[in-house]
Symmetry: C2
Subunit: 352 residues, 2 copies
């Protein structure tokens, strides 16, 4: 028997460090960053059809009211019909969203599992991703199975999960969640082994998931009130205003770090939460000179550059390892080694 899974695509990210392309009106999930498709469309394509022992039902999308058209457009790009689009009156982080997603999934199919996932993550190996879900599904009836990404470097930008005792083939209890470490600590995790990146993908049965809010019952209860008060129609669910009163906490902190039901399914799926232009350069296809080009761009005698233009022509000569992103609103220029400074540049731009 196949495990039925309802994907819950959470489209709440802002992507400040990918400014000026990523903005409040068009955050990073609605842009083609590492390929020719938007991250949202790639996410939706990753969870459709029947694959191995799992069968995906139509996804639930959870997003900000103003991103409705962008969501419709990205779903159309992916060739995916949504099971429901849930609109949040304000962003309350992922814990409240997870509770809503579980309750909506339970309405649609009481026996299906729900898969919480971000709209803006990158996964290179879809087959390995599906295999991890297949391993995790039997355990996910009574646990919340996190996909634990095998680290390929001592990244300091991600949280880590330490695995505990085995629960099944390729699935473990969680010994501990670790916040983003400094580099020395991250190295020690890799040396020690048994640590995985927390990729923010959670598979569980809705009943199990909702029961796991014991440490944060107010978040769950407010979320369910907002769902009860929702305006529905045409496949859309507009949550009630009470949603804005839910505490704004990440699902990891409100639920996963406190529950006894946490499990981890290690996997090597080429996952990334694309957090900088330098990372996009790393993930992109490049020309013979190591330049990642996107849009109407011309490069002369340049190497190792990320050159991206939207709605404007970009022409560079004689630059090395430089990031240039040009839109009709703003242009940034900085070395790839300083990609984190984009956040500062965005603040400087706001004062211009």
């Amino acid at each position: 028997m196949k495990h039925r899974i309802i994907p819950a695509i959470m489209s709440g990210g802002a992507g400040t460090r990918l400014w000026p392309l990523s903005t409040d009106d068009a955050p990073k999930q609605f842009h083609a960053l590492a390929s020719e498709s938007t991250l949202f469309a790639e996410t939706a394509r990753r969870v459709r059809g029947e694959l191995g022992g799992v069968s995906f039902l139509d996804p639930i999308v959870l997003c900000n009211e103003r991103h409705g058209p962008a969501v419709r457009s990205a779903l159309k790009e992916a060739g995916v019909a949504p099971g429901a689009v849930v609109f949040e009156p304000t962003a309350r982080n992922t814990a409240a969203v997870a509770a809503v997603a579980a309750a909506v999934a339970a309405e649609r199919d009481p026996e299906a599992l729900v898969l919480l996932m971000a709209a803006d993550h990158f996964v290179a190996d879809t087959a390995a991703f599906h295999a991890a879900l297949e391993r995790g599904a039997p355990i996910a009836r009574d646990r919340i199975v996190t996909l634990g990404v095998t680290p390929d470097r001592p990244a300091t930008g991600y949280g880590y999960i330490k695995r505990g005792s085995p629960l099944a083939d390729g699935v473990f209890a969680v010994e501990a969640f670790r916040e983003k470490p400094d580099e020395a600590t991250a190295r020690s995790y890799l040396d020690e082994g048994g640590y995985y990146w927390n990729g923010g993908m959670f598979l569980s049965h809705p009943r199990t998931l909702l029961a796991s809010f014991d440490a944060s019952p107010d978040i769950r209860d407010t979320a369910l009130q907002a769902l009860a008060a929702a305006v529905r129609g045409g496949g859309e669910i507009h949550l009630g205003a009470v949603f804005s009163e839910a505490p704004a906490l990440p699902f990891d902190i409100a639920v996963m770090e406190k529950t006894t039901r946490a499990a981890v399914a290690p996997c090597d799926i080429g996952w990334a939460d694309i957090g900088s232009w330098d990372e996009i350069w790393r993930l992109s296809a490049k020309d013979a000179a190591g330049n990642a080009l996107h849009g109407p761009v011309a490069a002369l005698d340049s190497t190792g550059a990320l050159l991206r233009a939207e709605g404007v022509k970009l022409c560079v000569a004689g630059v090395q390892d430089l990031i240039v992103v040009a839109t009709r609103d703003a242009v940034i220029v900085l070395p790839r080694s300083r990609a984190q400074d984009v956040k500062i540049l965005k603040e400087m731009a706001a004062r211009l």
Copy 2:
């Protein structure tokens, strides 16, 4: 008695090397490049009122049909009323324009001198400029007096004039005109002395100027036919279509290099024919880190950069000696040392 001078502002330049700011529709004279005023307005302000022994009459402007509004706007910016605006049906370089300018000047005041000058040149020292005109004016009745700019470096982008025997205090016959030299030759000119940059500013009586077209009578005759066939009204002179048949030659080559009436008035006026973004950086006011900033621009940890934005925000971090020019149509990024490559980038952009 004061010498009356009718300035003839030739607004025909294209400024390809200052793309993407300078375009066919808005060439460089209509932009504020080295100050807060457009080059055209600065040119017009430089030749008005009574100064020392010279009195300027209202200028004649000679320009392309499509630049009429930009010319009116720049004249208004300068607070200058035009004596006449002459529209060329097509650009035929400066020789034909000079003939028209002389003929129009003669109509307005048969005794006045005419001063041919480009709309897009930079002059730092207006007083020295006026003094040179005052020295040249008595000679200019029967000669064409070129202002010869004292070189401050072995520039390879300008033509040179070698002075001959003295004609009056501070005015000399011309021994020879020299085309743009290579650097070794330019250095030898500076070592030898008596060489000046040809700044393209010519003072003469219209009768003398027109008589000097002996070697290129067809240019003069075609230009005068076009003026005879012109449509006039409201201070505008729209040259007849026959103007397009005039050979397209620079005044220097068609007239100055062949006439026996050439003279040169050496002067040190801080002149430049701004031909590159690197030169604009050189001429601009700079911040403490040596950056020349123009428009909504923010620079973090950057030095020696030319950063210019129009209609778009520009934010840079950690760059050195870089040129970044951003408009809503195009963005260029290149080292200052490669400023000449802008022409190539413009061609590359046309193919995007």
